[in-house]
Symmetry: C2
């Protein structure tokens, strides 16, 4: 190993060089506001209207003129005459309040002109369906939600690059915005390679077909979707340079990012890399990465589009996804700041890095649980192709170069990944 | 208010009576494993196969007989002859290892019979493409991933009611399972009511149409989907008992759970409740709930199906969703334990409950941020129809009955809701 160590790139250096050799797509589309959940906002949003657009009530009750009840008390109740018209939600009343009047209004209803306070239905007595009895003074503005008091016209209400949530959709619609500019979702081609692969689980059951089920392609596809990409399954692909080259050329023409899985190894011929090498305007950025597991990961660019060359064993595939695909999909989705949700957790066991990999970036798989208000992370160690390991875990910790140990009691940052970590799972509960 | 307080139900009592009056659907469907992400597993899964199914290598290198190299040293290297056949992934080799042989193998490849160790490619020298030079003894079992060492046949590998994640899909496929029994997603009808409502944002811009945009229906619809339900938008519905009754009857026949929004209030006629009252075999469980905001929430059952009657103002709608719809959708999705992902956070401001609502359950909206490894919750207070309030928040705290204050520095549990909390949002980052 030592003899080759100069050929290994750190994760950061490889990623930096990759970014220098690709173009980040910034394609825009206009989508209906209520179909924009999870999309990345292209521009800042400035309110073009007040919310509420007119003064409105935030109680069910009666709009009044506060000056009418200045002298009201239990001893000297004031009687106001109930107006014949009443508020209809969405309508600014034509009615103009006269002295001594009470105007029936509901929560959210617009106030009639010259009214300035609302008295809630539960604080009054109604006499003969005709009069409202008020027994104490009411301050001007009571229970009035004045125009612009929620959102003022001209205010910047949302910032570009925000991931749109339900409340943002609600705000946009309230502001009269029906369609919104967002970044197009990146198209991600997934090419699982290997003569051994099959998608036919049923036929290969008990290894009858002497094949290996294509699992990683499907896992990566789900993770891509979970991060807001659109995954294009290019299908299992034999170890055949011509076929691989045709698929890659197609993927390069039609999608934004290409992920290959398998066909990269320290031992056998690197079919993916030799295919890329044979392509015009190709550039292999890094053959080997200081990433454990996952050191045979590769990065390449062809015509300014990135190709992530992921190892076949599941931990290698996932790790390459965590450190390269995840931030790349984030960038390609329109966010210039790469954010990953992490929770602080207490290590419940020691962890030691594998010999020879001290200066690598390490991925530690953990089982994250919440117990009595605190998160705990239990590191799970296992072979690179172990399914039980990934099934027993629901988060991962990134251990930086030259950090060789995590100790029981250490606070670590556990990365939460949609589809893998599943925040509503019972495992998150104490 | 005081005079009516006996009519109010606590959240827990209302929910309990609702459960006694409805039937929780337990419909099953068989779905392809790689389309099962997020679905709730119906049964425990027992491994019917070993993983790996045969002894296999977890390095690229050579399979050998460890007894051949017992005496190997730098001074006395052992030379093994490279076999003409080599491993093909997925194939159990026909080859039976002879003494003095080395069999080319890759990670995941099955070991030939009578081999018992693997030497990694980086630890050997190959001479003339014909001989492998080994300079130290290799322990029996080295780098061998023996049959069943990952998963043993007969082991219970997944528990019923689990929410399926990518790693579970991978495990199921590895075990030769192509389809899996999961609970059907519940169908949730959403009926936004009110003469004032419109879905036409564009036409009503600047309140031109004197209408109110139906925002809450769309927000609830997105939240239902985020929790794994299928939302059926029944469209904006006028305050008309006949129309409402027809829609509700249709919803009761075709879906599992009905959510109405609006048309429930302390002030005006409760059109939704009077409609339900007029239906055969209807039962109003609770008219008013000790929930702030959201006290005009109602629960009903018709033909053993639940109807959640949510207030129109956005905070009331959301709160009714948090305390009733969220657990109900969880139950209706097949989980008998209701789990909600929460993070512990430190309050950065005091919060005091509103007067008169001490014995209510209170929902406190917070802006949750992560800073230097800790979560902090900033309570945001505002009117019941405030859009800016919900836009400024990304989580909520449930404050139990008779708790009247939260103090700066208190540790609270902030509920995370998919679509509302958005775990990958920049707001979660320090």
């Amino acid at each position: 190993m030592k003899k080759n160590s100069d050929l290994y790139f750190t994760v950061d250096r490889a990623f930096k060089i990759l970014l220098e050799n690709i173009t980040v797509p910034k394609r825009i589309e206009l989508v209906p506001v209520f179909e924009s959940l999870g999309r990345i906002l292209k521009d800042d949003v400035i309110a073009q209207e007040n919310i509420p657009i007119h003064n409105s009530s935030h109680m069910d009750g009666y709009a009044i003129k506060s000056t009418d009840v200045t002298i009201a008390s239990k001893k000297n109740p004031v009687l106001l005459k109930i107006s014949h018209s009443e508020s209809i939600l969405g309508n600014l009343p034509h009615h103009i309040m006269k002295k001594g009047e009470a105007f029936r209004i509901q929560t959210g209803g617009y106030m009639p002109l010259k009214s300035d306070a609302v008295i809630p239905i539960e604080n009054i007595k109604i006499i003969n369906n005709d009069l409202v009895e008020i027994v104490k003074p009411i301050e001007k503005g009571s229970f009035v939600y004045s125009a612009g008091s929620d959102i003022k016209k001209g205010k910047k209400v949302l910032s570009k690059e925000l991931a749109i949530r339900v409340q943002h959709m609600g705000l946009l619609a309230s502001l009269g915005i029906s369609k919104i500019s967002v970044f197009k979702k990146p198209l991600v081609s997934i090419i699982p390679t290997g003569n051994e692969l099959t998608n036919d689980i049923e036929r290969n059951k008990g290894n009858k077909e002497k094949k290996v089920v294509n699992i990683n392609g499907h896992i990566i596809s789900s993770l891509v979707s979970g991060l807001g990409g659109i995954s294009i399954d290019m299908g299992v692909t034999p170890d055949d340079v011509d076929i691989l080259k045709r698929k890659m050329n197609h993927a390069l023409k039609t999608t934004d990012l290409i992920i290959t899985i398998g066909g990269t190894s320290a031992g056998k011929q690197d079919i993916v890399k030799s295919t890329i090498d044979s392509m015009a305007s190709s550039r292999i950025i890094a053959h080997k990465i200081k990433l454990d597991r996952g050191r045979v990961t590769g990065l390449a660019a062809v015509n300014k589009k990135p190709i992530l060359i992921m190892p076949g064993p599941i931990q290698g595939t996932l790790n390459a996804f965590f450190v390269f695909a995840r931030p790349l999909i984030s960038l390609f989705s329109g966010q210039t700041t790469i954010n990953v949700f992490t929770v602080s957790a207490i290590m419940v066991e020691d962890w030691t890095c594998r010999k020879k990999f001290h200066d690598f970036r390490k991925i530690v798989y953990v089982n994250l649980i919440k117990f009595k208000d605190k998160f705990y992370a239990n590191p799970i160690i296992g072979e690179t192709q172990s399914m039980s390991l990934i099934v027993d875990t629901n988060g991962y910790v990134i251990v930086h170069e030259n950090v060789t140990n995590l100790f029981k009691g250490d606070v670590v940052q556990v990365n939460i990944l949609p589809g893998y970590s599943y925040v509503n799972d019972i495992q998150f509960m104490g």
